[in-house]
Each structure stands twice: as C-alpha cells, then as structure tokens.
Symmetry: D2
C-alpha cells in the first residue's frame, strides 16, 4: 500500500482540468504515492467551487496562500496563468512543499531564475510542466538518442504551428504584461525544451520575431536558427497564424546513422530512419515507454494521458530519495528554456546572433 | 446534482480495465447519472481483489450471481470473455438491471438472439460494446452520411488487420468453444457493426475463411464481399496475420458526391473527399462530436476515451425515458452483427452467396 | 551498334501516345534493338496523319492490314481499343511479326485464348501490355518476394479505384460490345495481373459485380474474394465511382515475415514491413529496378516511363534467343487474366464460388 | 509547321542527359519552335562522342567555342558544371545566341551579375534552369497565390534535404573553386528561387552555415531565417547530411486564408489548406498546369518531365516578340538568387542579419 500525498492545485482552466484528470487517473495506475486531492484554488469563488465539484477536489479556496499554509498539502501544483507562476510557486517551495509549475516557468528568464533559485534553496522536488517529454514517442526518441542509434548529430529542426490566432478574440494571451510573450512562450517554449531534452544545450540563436495582427502586444510568430554546444545546427519556429495547422508540434533530428521525426498531431507515431529510409513506428508496443500503463498494441493514447505519465514520474521522484526527476524538466530546465526564449527575442530585436549564457542558481 | 447509479462489472482483464477507467473518468464529465462502482466480479479471488483495489471498486466478488442478486446494482456491465456473455447478461437483465455487454454479444447468432430477447423481455436498457461507434471521427462520418453529404452511396470497404497472431502463445482466443470464432468475431465483428452503423443493412455475403496457423481452432483471417439493402457493395476483411499492421481498423465509403476514410491507428483523423480530393480533418474542433468533454483543437483523444463516450451515452439513455441509446449498438445490433458473422462463416464453408435474414426477437 | 527493328503501331489515342513516346525515349537508353517507327495505323485518315506527325512515325496508314503486309515491320504494337485486339494481333503474328497487345488481351477469355494460341503457333515473341509490372516499386516488390523476404504468404488485397465514371459522357468504354466489360476489364485486369505476377495462380473467386449508372451496359464496379493455389486469400476490387480516388491502383501483400504495400498514385514508393513496422522506400536508388536508365536518388520517374521499361524489356527478349520476356506478361498471362475476369463475372451472376481452370493453348 | 531552332548543349552528365531528353520529348509536344540538336560539347572527346550518340545530337565538339561560332546554333544550353557557367554563357550571348544556363547561375553574386549583364546587353532571351518552377504542383501553388486564394501571407518555410553527403566520395561538388558553395548553391539555390517565385523578394537573412565532414571545403548544411519585402517571415534550410531524406525539397506557405505545402518526393501532390484543413490535390487534372501535355488524371509525371515544361516555355518565349519568359527564372532571377545565397554566407560568418540589396544590371 503506497503512502498518500496531499495535493493543492492552483488554476481550474485548461491546465487545471488536465492535471486533475491525470491525478485521478493515477489512482488506477499503482502510483508510488497516492495523490489526495486536498484543494483547488482560483480567484472566482463560484467558478472554483464548480471546478472543485467537477474535478473531484475536497475543498475549493479563493486564495492560494491558504494552500501554502495548509499542512495537508505536500505537493503544490501550479496550473495558473503565466503571471501567477512566480509568487505562489516560490511561496509554496519556501513552505517546504514540492512544486510542479506549468510552462513557461516565468514570463522571462529573470523571473524563471528566481523561481528556480527559491525551489533549490528550499530543497524541494521541482518540475516544470513540459508534458511533451512524456509522450511515448518522444521518450522513445530520447532512448534511441541515448543509445547512440543516430550516430553523430547534425541537425535539429522544430516548429510548433497553430492557426487560431488569426481570428481570435482578445485574451490575456495577447497581452504583454499577462503573457510575457506570445507564440514564443506559449508554443516556442515547448520546442525549445524538446531541443534541450533531445539534443543538448543551445549556445546561440538568430531570429526574426513578428507581430502581424493589429492589437496584439506579443509576438504572433518567430523563426530562429539555433546552434548547440555539440555542433548541431537547426531551426526553431512557432506561429499562431498557420492555416491548416491545428497543433503541429513537430521536430526532426538528423544524425550520421539515422533520423527521427515526430508530430504531436500523430502523437503515437515516431518516424525512425536508419541509413536508408524512414519507418513508421506505432509507439504502442509493450516495451515502449509508458505502455505498461495502457492497452494492447495499436490502441493509442491521447494527449491528456501525457499528464498522467508526467505526474507519475514526479511522484516517483518525490517518493525516492533524490530531489531530481530525471526525465521531467526541473525548474533549472524551465529557467534555461526562458533564457533561450529571451535570447530569441533579443536576437530578433538586434539582428545579431545572441550567444546564450546560463546563470548559476542564485 | 445527478442521481447515482450502482454498477457491477464482470471481468478484470483488458475490457475490465477499459470500462473501469471510463467509469471513473465520467465523474469529471458531468454525467447524467453518477456511476457508483459497487463490485467487480471474477473467478480468481486473488486477482479480482487486486483488480478491485487497482480499479477502484468497492467490493470484489468471485461469482457474478452475487451481482445479479445485489440490489445496489442497477447496471450490469459484462466485460468478461465471450463464453461468459450469455448467461450472466441474461440473468442480470431478468433481474431488472440495465445491461452493457462487450462484443461479440454471443458466440454465434443463436446465442446473441437469446441475449437480445431476454433483455427486451425484461424491458431494460441494453447496449453492446461496439466502442468504435464512439470514436469522434466515426461519429463525424455518421453525421456527414446522415446529412447526405456523400450523396448516393456506392461502396463500403473495411478491413481490420493485426499481426500478433503469427507468433502468439496459446490462448482462449484460438479455441472454438471459448471464442466462437477468431479474427471474425474478434475483429470482423467491429467492422460489421460499423458497416451497419454507417451504411445500412447487409443482405448478402460471399467469403473465404481460413485458419493458417497449426493448432488454431478458429479462423485466423477472412475475406468477404458484402451487399447492402440500399445497393451498396463492398468488401470486409480481418486478419491476425498482417505484418506491419498493428491495429489497422479502417473503412472507406464512396458516394456520388464524396467519400470518407478512417483508420483507428490515426484515431483522430477523418479523410473526407468532396467531388475532387480528400481533405484530412483533425476531428478535435469544438463542434466535433464528444469534443466538449476534452481539450482545445489539435489535442488528440486516445482509444481508451471512446469508452468514456460510450458509457456517457449509455447513462444518458438510462437517465431518459426510453430504453434505446440511439448511437449505441443495442443487443439487436449485437444479434444482427452475429447473424452476419455467421453468414460469413457459412458462405466460406459453402462457397455460396448467403442471403442474410434477420430473425424477429423471440 | 544495335540492330534496328521496324515497328508498326495500331492506335493513336491514349495508348498510341504512350507507346510512341516510349519508343522514342528508348533511343536514348541504349536499347538492345533500335526501334524504327515505320507506320502508325488508325481509321480516320486526318487524325492518323496528325498523330503520325506529332508522334514521329514515318508513315500513316488507315488499315492495319497494310502493316501486317509490310515487310519492314517486325514488331506489331497493338494499342487500339479492346474490340480491335484480336483480329489484327492474330494476323500480325501469323505474318511472323512479334506482337505487343494492350490489355485486356481479349474481350473475354475465349478471345484472349485465340490470340494466345495464334501467337504461340506462329512462334513469335508476344507480350500483353500490363505496364504496372514495369513500375520500379512493383518490380522491387517482386524481387523481395522472390528472395523470400516476406516468408510464407497469407494475404493479397488490391483495389483499383477511379472516380470519373460518375459524371462521364457516353463512351465505348460503357458499351458491352466494344469494351467487353467495364471496371473489371479496364481496371480489374491490372490488379488481377499483378496478383498473378506477385503472388501466384488464383484458383477460385466469389464476387459481386454491379452497374450503378443508368445507361451503362458494363460493370461500374466489382468486389471479389480470391483464393490462390498457394493458400493465400484476399480481395480484389475495382470501381469507376470512388470520389476522391483519382487513380488508386493499390495492393498489399502480407506474409509471415513481412508485408509490402503500393499505390500507383505514389508510383515511386514501396511500403515495406518487416516483423514490426512499415518503412517507406523511395524506389530511386541506383540498385533499384530500372534506375540505371534515370536520375540520381529521389528524382522520381513518371507513369509514362513504365512503358519505356516495358518496351525495353520486350526488345531485349526479341533480341535474345527465346520467345519469352520473363517479366512481361505473355499472351498466356493475358489469357489467364481474362479467365479470372470471366470467373469474377460468372461468380457475380451465380452467387457461387467459381473455381478457375486454365485451358492449355489450342 | 513550326520553325526550327538549332541548339548547342554544353555538358553531358546529369544535366546534359536531362536537357537532351527534354528536347527530344518536345518534338512530340507541338513545340512553338522545333529544336534541332546541332551539337553537344564536352572536354573528353571519347565521352562526348558517346553522349552524342546516346542522346541524339548531330555532332560532338570538344570546345564550346565551336558552338559559339556555329551559325546553325540559335540557343546555347549550358548544362556544364558551375565553374563553366560564366565564360561560355557570356560568349554565347555576345554571339547573339539565346541562352539557357543551369543553376546556380554563377559561383557567387558577382559572377552571376556579370552573366546577367552580358545577356541583357546582347538582347537575347535568357533563362536560368530552376526547373522546379515547372513542376505542375508548384505552378498550381503560384496560380493560387496570384489569385489571392491564400489571403495575406505570413510565412514561408522551405528545406531541401538529402543524405548522400555523409558517405560521399571526393568530388568537385565539395571543392570551393569548382563549386562555389556546397549545399547552399546546390540545394539552397533551388529553395531561394522558389521563395522568390512564390512569395516575393527577400530583404534580410540571418544564418548558420556549417561544414561537418572532414575534407569538405564547402558547406554541408545551412539554416537561415528570412524576411521578405511584403512582411513574410520564415526559414530556409539545406543539408546533404539528413539520413532518410533522399530528395526532400519541400516548402510551406501560410496566409490568412489558407496554406500550401509541397515536397518534391511527392512531385505530383500539392497540399492545399483553406481555413480549416489540408486537402491533398493530385495535380494531374486536365485543367492543371502542363497537363495538356500528358495523361488522364492520376497518371503522374516524373522529375525529368519538368525539363520538358521548362524548355517548352523557353521556346515559347523565343518564338514570341519579347525577351522574357515570364515563368522561367531569367538571369536576373539567377543573379538575385546568388545575391541571397551570398547574404546567407555573410550572415553565417558575421552572425548578423544581412540586408539584401540587389544591384541594377551593369
């Protein structure tokens, strides 16, 4: 019988729903710690109560400070909007709670650095919610890379394209203060994290960053070149203005002995090339990552299930004797991602290649 | 606040897991009736207790008769092996419980007919677990067909191909007594049901049915032609011996004004042709079937989620004042499917076109 | 320096154009015999003269008998409509000319048998124009099969779908006397030939054959099951009424160790599965069939180029000391294909499995 | 009856073969001027004679100056290696011959500018051999863009990936003096030209350019961002080191009302998105570009056929009363492409955004 861990969740929108669902799902997956859904927090009392009832939380609170002060809560899960990442996460960490914070960790590198530093100083387990690390096909790509199957690496190219920005109603997502950046922080951060997870540390970028739509304060799109410490070169792009692309989060890695290619729209497939051609691997075999949780081969998992994998991994780390969840993005990863995103913005403004330097933790 | 409904589940293997997960998931999806997981039944006391704990059931029982006798249970969910479909389902219906039974309903048409008749006589809501009706892309295909978007229909072709049968260990799935049939009842039944759901009533088949692997008592594969009441012609195929095909459950319908094509391996996509070309529709938009339960566009659902849709539909029917769940396969659908599968077997044996006649309920 | 061979071509429409182009193309491909384009024949004097000028023939004639009597002609190439296959081809063979005849060889098996017998008795080289045998990807599939790469074979399924028949103007192609059959002889004959070329001899079929469009005398579509001598089972389908399918001539073969899949719409690709997954082979490498004629890897060939391969093969056979072109369909292959097509028609009419028996040559 | 035009071809390797084939093919396609194949030039007497015989040229010469001096030749077609582009092309133009020169026009912008200037001063028709403008699917994309079907344009991204460079033997293609650049001039030039043909004039680039393989003097790969005069932003990439990519020349354009996407490996397909989804257009319908030359729908054309389209277009321009072939790349286009490629090199070296300025002709 596993020990229990009390969880407090901040946020009841998109991420609140995704995290709640995953926590419940875990109950059926023999988790290393059994999550107890103590409370959900949100500013609007009526809405947070509705969310509580719907998503199966014991209590609803309108101030996250109540969660920080709540001794029953050992894991603070921050699924709030970007502007609500720093203060509550730092406070929770300082109160000794393990912390999961959605991406982007901060609205810029400085904010992310502060969050990371606080969590490290508090000695808690911390994870930034880059859920695409927990896609079975992405994990399989990582395993192939770790095993050296692709040989010496030459190229990484990724793009994250959506189309809803063309006709979108006004939203905090288009405001500088609330969102920090636009396509860059929302979509670009995901592919920057995958770049680091799969290939290594970026050392320089050039870019063009653009706001096309009247009234938007943040970028609608960017395009960048990227150089990695290990010599790999490539491109990064994100846009909210790509008709026909609904959620095309795609990458390709080319090495001397093979390549891999992936697209979130076909979440359960990994294209794997050897020295001659690409094969389509349906990542649903028993030996494939995370598949022990699920179904027989060929029965695909959904996007929402990546959060189940992510939270399982986090609870494994918490149950262990380390404060590192090796496959999860730590807050250091969240900070480094922010550093790269900032560099992309600066490169776009200056027209120069921006060398990326990562700060030590404060 | 919705009323509650007590559920008893028979079976703790593949389907037991899928149904349990969906019942829990429903709790977060504002169900018309709130499922209460009363008991799970299985013959092996140790295993059923493990399943109980893992899948979140209140009690474990080793005899389904306890569930039939249990007044707390209003819905009997039969996810057991094929040979355990008839007796428990009939008993539960006669005890006044609504019944969900996995496919194939019976091991042959006669058995399926008996189950259907019993449920009808009992006046309970009955549904046969053809979960592919609850794939968003399949439902969208149905909507397009109902709206006449494809014009006069000409062709239906479907195949369900897997490959695990080549190297498989011995299993009840290869035994005549336990399974009834092989690829036909296991895979073929799904495409037969989709044929009926999407196109209409088959009236004749020809076929070739084959056992390739030594030691298998049931068919490894079949290929059939099919004619429908409305003049449509086409093919049906299933095999457990198709290398490279992991779970390719695919169909295509051609009409005078357009076509649709689908493959379970790309569960969230529907290929839709007008008079010139096919477009790839990612069936994840807010207006698409079942998407109100889920995520923003482009964030795909998984195979397991189809059971959530299915059970939501069943509970809606039970909560209503009819004993029909219009999109769910009723036991009559389960029976008719069995009648067609039997006709495919007979056509294979006789080498003749077999006209399909459906019996009235007994 | 190669010897020359005089060629006479009957027909100046679709096939006349394709064959003429291929004969000219051969001049640049170091052919074993250099084709000399002696004359082109057609009934309409004005049109045949225009075709002569356009397609580069020395003379135009309005009666194919002139070609049969022309000593300069050693190869009679029959690209005329179906009803013009038998008499001219037989006459040419009896005049000692090598003969190439477009498919279907005859309008039925009896006619095809007569053509085959005449050619054999004359001792000339004969080839039936099943050009898909000369697609590089199809030849590669054959090579893989010959090498045993797919293990024991289980399934063959093919379909040939077009959509132009829905809105088509009246044409000889819809008339019984002129065409013999519809989708069956026009499209089905191609996949029947590929079935024989790749898998082996069919021994039985069941089918449904249907005319949907008012005014058509021949079949618009058929669907059939097929059994082969070596135990393989599968399906064959063709239709002129499949919206969105422009020229989908596709097959798949499943064996115990692997599978192959092909579609004419992606002419240069062969999908090849081993025991786990499909890889996409772009059949343009130097070691791939026919690629010595063409370009560096990745530079695809067109449909028209298959005739170049076909005619090169025929001239190689003529230049050799045998009257067999091993990869080309002989007239015996043309006859056997017709026998199978007739069996499909009879099976459709009778509703029975029709065992296929092939006649010896007369 | 069309007038004749004498042609002299320099080069007998890859491009010599492709151009020869196209010139012969044209004879069957009712060309506005009938090409007469006067002479082929190459340095090696034996090889050029073999090429003459194989490719159907009347004479072979070992010095292109003979062609420049030959009054029978009105079109000088330069298919030689990069280092042989400038001098012969300029001489031919000054001798009053129309000139077709393969890409890249010069080894750098200065050389390309000189060639352009000479041709303009001579008043001859000039075309640079960017054959991908003559792919039916690419022309269709251009037609959609001209018709405004995509609305306001936001993004262009293109990459041209091959893999042969990893294991390649030494070749002039890896030498600075002979080739000018590597993947950039060989592959990148094609996508730069398509960018200009489809979207408009680039005004700035940033880039990273890299030589990975020991012994190579030129770039193996580059990645760049690009900004266009009309505000469009995007990426350009080329590599000879991308395993599994054989000849992936692919682009995508996103606009406010739709998108198009293309890949040379599927030469006959254009993916066209409206505001919701992508459709796969098989560009083989009678109304599609160049299809009047070819076959019924669904019968694809090959890569080699693009040269036939290109030369037909050039001859149409020569037969007309203008010195412009509107869809062909002129030498000005060849020069501008070189200017952009040079800018990519400089941006890679400097780490700065390089503004592109085009010189007037000298």
């Amino acid at each position: 019988m596993s020990d229990r861990i009390g969880v407090g969740l901040l946020g009841y929108a998109f991420m609140g729903k995704a995290h709640s669902r995953a926590l419940h799902e875990l109950l059926r997956l023999d988790p290393p710690l059994v999550p107890e859904l103590v409370s959900i927090a949100g500013r609007d009392a009526k809405q947070v109560e509705a969310a509580r009832a719907r998503y199966g939380w014991a209590e609803a609170v309108t101030d996250w400070r109540e969660q920080v002060a709540d001794d029953r809560i050992a894991l603070f899960d921050n699924g709030g909007p970007n502007a609500m990442h720093a203060e509550p996460t730092i406070a929770a960490a300082r109160a000794g709670k393990h912390v999961l914070c959605e991406k982007p960790l901060g609205r810029d590198a400085a904010e992310a650095h502060a969050i990371w530093t606080a969590a490290e100083e508090a000695g808690v387990v911390h994870m930034c919610g880059f859920n695409y690390r927990f896609v079975p096909a992405v994990r399989l790509a990582r395993e192939l890379l770790e095993a050296g199957e692709l040989g010496e690496l030459f190229h990484f190219r990724a793009r994250y394209l959506q189309s809803w920005g063309i006709d979108a109603d006004p939203s905090w997502r288009f405001e500088k203060e609330a969102a920090g950046s636009g396509a860059l922080g929302d979509l670009g951060a995901h592919i920057v994290d995958l770049a680091r997870y799969l290939v290594g540390e970026p050392v320089a970028v050039t870019s063009v960053v653009r706001t096309f739509v009247d009234g938007h304060e943040v970028d609608d799109a960017f395009a960048a070149t990227v150089e990695f410490e290990n010599g790999v070169i490539g491109t990064l792009e994100a846009s909210r203005l790509a008709r026909g692309r609904i959620n095309q989060n795609t990458f390709e890695i080319n090495g001397s002995r093979g390549s891999v290619s992936f697209d979130v729209e076909r979440l359960n497939e990994l294209q794997v090339a050897d020295e001659t051609s690409f094969r389509r691997v349906l990542v649903t075999e028993p030996e494939h990552p995370f598949m022990s949780f699920w179904w027989p081969p060929g029965h695909i998992v959904g996007w929402g299930d990546t959060f189940t994998h992510e939270l399982h991994h986090l609870l494994t780390a918490i149950a262990g004797d380390s404060n590192v969840a090796p496959h999860g993005a730590t807050f250091e990863d969240g900070y480094r991602c922010a550093e790269i995103c900032d560099a992309i913005l600066r490169a776009g403004e200056s027209g120069r290649r921006v060398a990326i330097s990562y700060r030590e933790r404060g």
